[in-house]
């Protein structure tokens, strides 16, 4: 039996002279086996991948040993020695595939220069790309295509150990599936894989072994199937349950109230291109949740903006409790504050350089009836927000806190409808679950209508009363 592809012993990573950010990590990847390392943002998982490649950012120092493909163990602090393994023994599938390619050189010359023509064509076909792509320049490729091109270049290379750093970051569900299949095919081709991710569904699909990282330490590790079936640590259990496919569907809404938002025969398209959607009818009752989904670029964000009165549709009508905001100026002015949006990047909803508290107070300029002293404290308590956070800027709070602050800002305006545009796609699974639960609670408690835009079908199915898919 061939030696393990990777043995990490006692790996510790220190930042500057200060804190240990990764400590006592022991990991092993069998030859041709798969190990998925899962953890929250800031848990140190990417640092482990960087340490193995000898690519730790400046200011970080590693100790411990790393043994690769049966070679003698190397001190993890000797980045120079680890770099000697590049290309022959280890290969990286980078987080941002497009940044890894020289924008001024054709794919073929760049990646397949030393490969025989037939091998290159076969590798490209294996990842579902036409051979002509070798003539393209990297900026012409989408992120997904760039990733496939890189996988093809790995297929023609020799390195037995592949390290994939967050391969699913920022992908929609369709591309997520492609990425999963690519990684599985690399595993089937006999390569050993170390996959770093925070995506539970991806970890489950890849199988192999699973290690759960929390604050720089491994809290649980074992056969993937066994860990998913019977997690021993409560932290692991919370993680697995945070996967939307495990959520219990919420109770269906039964209100047959007059709709708080409706759209009839909506059409929108960019000039000279076929319409993104056409003849679309939408109906959101009070306390109801409607989900909008579809692949990237299908126009779901635009549809959200049309419903919010931000962008007129090419055809059709929007109705805010019976008034059309695009035709009835008075209604638009009167109802403006009642139709609100929860953004994908919560921190960016607040003006940088001004504390969030001051920005909540600014709302009095447009909502004279607002009484912060009366309305704010109970709201903060309900959203579990520390009042001291209001003294900070939005960039200085965590992602989950920022999203709850953004929610507080909207709720101060007493909304009747909220369009939430991928409100949790940048949050870790645990925080995502908490935030969605909070949203549901508010929808049910206040009788607010919710339009939830997203790409995670499992999440939408578990949260919404009705799902509309746009495009294709």
């Amino acid at each position: 039996m061939s030696p393990p592809a990777l043995i990490i012993r006692g790996l510790a990573i220190r930042e500057g002279h200060g804190a240990l950010v990764v400590a006592g990590v022991d990991l092993e990847v069998e030859a041709g086996g798969t190990l998925v390392l899962i953890g929250e943002t800031g848990s140190g998982k990417s640092l482990i991948a960087q340490a193995v490649m000898g690519l730790l950012p400046q200011g970080f120092a590693a100790s411990g040993t790393i043994a690769i493909n049966g070679h003698a163990p190397v001190d993890a602090g000797q980045a120079g020695l680890l770099r000697l393994f590049w290309s022959r023994e280890t290969m990286l599938l980078p987080q941002e595939p497009r940044a890894a390619l020289d924008p001024t050189m054709r794919i073929g010359r760049q990646l397949f220069e030393r490969t025989r023509q037939n091998d290159a064509v076969a590798a490209l076909q294996a990842v579902g790309l036409a051979p002509e792509i070798a003539q393209a320049y990297p900026p012409m490729l989408s992120g997904g295509m760039a990733q496939r091109v890189l996988v093809a270049s790995v297929l023609v290379g020799r390195a037995p150990l592949l390290i994939a750093d967050e391969p699913s970051k920022g992908l929609d569900s369709e591309r997520l599936g492609q990425t999963r299949d690519l990684l599985l095919s690399l595993g089937q081709a006999g390569r050993a894989l170390l996959v770093i991710t925070h995506d539970i569904a991806l970890a489950r699909a890849l199988g192999g072994r699973l290690a759960v990282l929390r604050e720089g330490r491994i809290v649980e590790q074992g056969e993937s199937a066994a860990v998913f079936a019977a997690p021993r640590q409560s932290y692991t259990r919370a993680w697995i349950e945070a996967d939307p496919s495990r959520w219990r569907p919420s109770l269906r809404c039964c209100a047959v109230d007059a709709p708080v938002l409706a759209g009839h025969g909506l059409r929108f398209g960019f000039r000279d291109r076929p319409a993104l959607f056409e003849g679309l009818d939408i109906h959101v009752p009070r306390g109801g949740v409607l989900a909008l989904t579809g692949p990237s670029g299908c126009g779901k964000t635009t549809l959200g903006n049309i419903l919010l009165g931000l962008q007129a549709p090419d055809a059709g009508q929007v109705s805010w409790a019976g008034c059309d905001p695009y035709r009835d100026r008075a209604a638009l002015k009167r109802l403006r504050r009642r139709y609100q949006k929860l953004h994908q990047d919560p921190a960016s909803v607040f003006l940088p350089g001004r504390s969030t508290g001051l920005q909540l107070a600014d709302l009095k300029e447009v909502a004279p009836e607002l009484d912060l002293a009366r309305d704010l404290p109970p709201l903060l308590e309900r959203l579990r927000l520390d009042p001291r956070l209001l003294r900070r800027q939005a960039g200085e709070v965590s992602g989950g806190e920022a999203q709850r602050l953004a929610l507080a800002r909207i709720l101060l305006m007493k909304p009747e409808l909220i369009v939430a545009d991928e409100p949790t796609s940048r949050l870790d699974p645990l925080v995502q679950r908490e935030t969605i639960a909070l949203l549901r609670e508010i929808v049910a408690g206040e009788g607010v209508g919710l339009v939830l835009i997203g790409h995670d079908r499992a999440l939408l199915a578990a949260t919404a009363d009705d799902v509309i898919t746009i495009g294709r």
């Binding site: 022959r88 990286l92 941002e96 001024t104 320049y137």
Partner: protein, 317 residues
């Protein structure tokens, strides 16, 4: 090929607009000057003492100065458009001839200054880019900032007082021999290099830090091979773009440098014409400078297009 044509079109439009604005400006100035236009021309042609009412009136008719202003403007524009720039009011020479004579000198000086500036800036900038923060980088940055804070006439005065007055190695002014070119060209080159050395250094630093360089090495290239294959071309893009912008600095530079060194180039011609209110010459010199600027911009655009496939997307067919 299509993007190149689009570029050519937009730069030609830029040149045409420059020419139109300059011609209009000059026309406006001529007519805004106080006093009778015909009288001024007459005085310029025959001398102040010998001007008579008859000559003035004849000139007024001949030159069409009695026509409405709009008609005169149209006639003026069509003359400029056909390349007829008229005669210098001072030397009576055709403006084209004057420009051809002085342009030669400026061309030589500019080319030499440009060449010397890159002889200085390229090796220095690349060396600094390979060791950012090192002593060479810090010293070069300091000198470059200081040089960039000096108007070119101060650089020139400094060079004159050292090399011409103290050391007496080189002549302080004039244009007859090659030695006369050294100080003006060096003045120009130092001013240009002060900026380009930073651009080159930053381009090299940026490219060396780009992830595609690291990734090329992960794929098995050596550091030197990665820089040759992926570094040089990417670093050249911002440098080529900047080279065109630098032409704008060149204009400030050679106008002042030529005056300082008494060097008979276009800049000197322009300033002397301005001081003498010699409108046709001012317009001619201005036109040539503006058109050459548009041409230099076009060349830089084409260079970037050849270097950078992303640029093609900026000019959709």
């Amino acid at each position: 090929m299509r993007p190149a044509l689009t570029l050519l079109g937009s730069r030609a439009a830029q040149a045409a607009l420059t020419a139109w604005l300059l011609a209009t400006l000059c026309f406006g100035f001529i007519h805004a000057l106080p006093g009778d236009m015909a009288l001024r021309i007459a005085a310029a042609r025959v001398g102040d003492e010998r001007v008579t009412v008859e000559t003035t009136e004849r000139i007024r008719r001949e030159e069409g100065l009695d026509r409405p202003l709009a008609v005169q403007y149209a006639a003026w524009l069509s003359r400029v458009a056909t390349g007829d720039l008229g005669q210098s009011l001072v030397s009576r020479q055709p403006v084209r001839q004057e420009i051809a004579y002085h342009g030669r000198f400026t061309l030589g000086l500019g080319a030499l200054g440009w060449l010397v500036s890159y002889l200085i800036a390229l090796p220095l900038g690349i060396a600094c880019g390979f060791a950012p923060g090192g002593w060479l980088d810090r010293v070069t940055t300091g000198i470059a900032v200081a040089l960039a804070s000096l108007p070119s006439f101060l650089v020139g005065i400094g060079l004159i007082s050292v090399f011409a007055l103290s050391l007496r190695w080189l002549p302080p002014a004039g244009y007859r021999t090659g030695a006369h070119m050294v100080l003006p060209a060096l003045t120009l080159a130092l001013g240009l290099a002060a900026f380009s050395v930073r651009i080159i250094r930053n381009a090299v630093v940026e490219v060396r830090g780009a992830f595609y360089m690291t990734f090329a090495r992960i794929r098995g290239r050596s550091a030197a091979s990665a820089f040759r294959h992926h570094g040089v071309r990417n670093a050249a893009i911002p440098v080529a773009t900047f080279a065109a912008l630098q032409f704008a600095y060149m204009v400030d530079g050679f106008v002042v440098v030529e005056m300082l060194f008494n060097y008979p180039g276009l800049g000197e011609l322009l300033v002397k014409a301005l001081l003498a209110r010699d409108v046709p010459v001012v317009m001619g010199a201005g036109l040539v400078i503006g058109l050459v600027y548009a041409g230099v911009n076009l060349l830089a655009d084409l260079a970037c297009l050849a270097l950078d496939p992303r640029q093609a997307a900026r000019f959709p067919a």
